[in-house]
Symmetry: C2
């Protein structure tokens, strides 16, 4: 089975991201198209990019970079569970992307975004411009969560059927791309 890594982009105290990622991961496990890994950036604790060489060279001098490189390199597809701050993606996600280069290439990525104003849509549009330059393929199907509607007064996620359906649709599309790209990424 291809391997899907679910990246939890928010590292902020009080974030909604982890419970959304846990819900998504459970849904993906039931759906059964991928072997799933959760990569929580709050646990991975990368510093701000501190490598002296361009990541395209792969000459990493720090262990934290080598560990992160191994996680991403072993993945066949990604889902970013991502908040929206000031109409854009958040810094920890961009930082985690910028640390690496070839590891992302020819892999599909889907988005589970959330926000109070725009369900994270603007952050997703913005990160698409970044992942495409790395030769990733953003899938069109996405899960977009209006926090005011799906989080209760105690901050607890109340998943709706529409979220579940959107997740399953996105997972199917990720699997189709992952299968198609397996050949593209085969060693020469």
């Amino acid at each position: 089975m291809p391997r899907l890594t679910v990246i939890v982009a928010s590292t902020r105290p009080g974030r909604s991201g982890r419970q959304i990622a846990d819900w998504f991961t459970a849904t993906a496990a039931r759906q059964g198209d991928f072997e799933i890994t959760l990569a929580d950036l709050a646990e991975i604790k990368l510093p701000f990019l501190d490598e002296p060489h361009h990541p395209s060279e792969g000459r990493y001098v720090h262990d934290h970079t080598r560990r992160w490189s191994a996680v991403v390199d072993a993945s066949d597809a990604f889902v970013f569970v991502m908040p929206e701050y000031n109409a854009g993606f958040n810094a920890p996600l961009k930082n985690a992307i910028d640390f690496l280069y070839h590891e992302w290439r020819y892999k599909p990525v889907g988005f589970v975004s959330y926000g109070t104003t725009a369900s994270g849509h603007r952050a997703v549009q913005m990160i698409k411009q970044v992942v495409m330059i790395l030769r990733m393929t953003p899938v069109a199907d996405a899960v977009s969560i209006p926090l005011k509607q799906y989080v209760d007064q105690d901050g607890k996620l109340v998943p709706a059927a529409a979220m579940e359906e959107a997740a399953v649709k996105m997972l199917g599309e990720l699997r189709r791309f992952a299968d198609a790209f397996a050949g593209l990424r085969a060693p020469a």
Copy 2:
């Protein structure tokens, strides 16, 4: 005189940003329209956003946030000296912006960008979408530095007359906006 804060966005070892900011700051001092402060994010060392409350509430619990708030609040205009990573802005800049809220409001911002592929143009377009949601005004005049052309083999910046002219033009525009906005930001 209005106060201009020049923010050095790159914190990476081997960055070009600091010498570009030093060149720009010297140019701005000669031009004489602003009292100038250099805010080097590599020295300020903000962590990834770790405040529990939304920045619009101004209820900061960390000293690093209060210090950064004081710097930005005391400024009348900004220049971001910024690199481009993967067609976008870098993480430390977005993080420094997201930490605060009202402190940015009704202030103009100019961009000194640099890059090997596109002189940082794509990163500037992307950050405009962020600063505008905070009610900042990005000025149209900018300094865009093609690194291959203006950095020599030892990595030393060789400023060109065109850079100097672009900087002076941008500073004039920043000053016009800063003056216009002074009334807008006066306490009620």
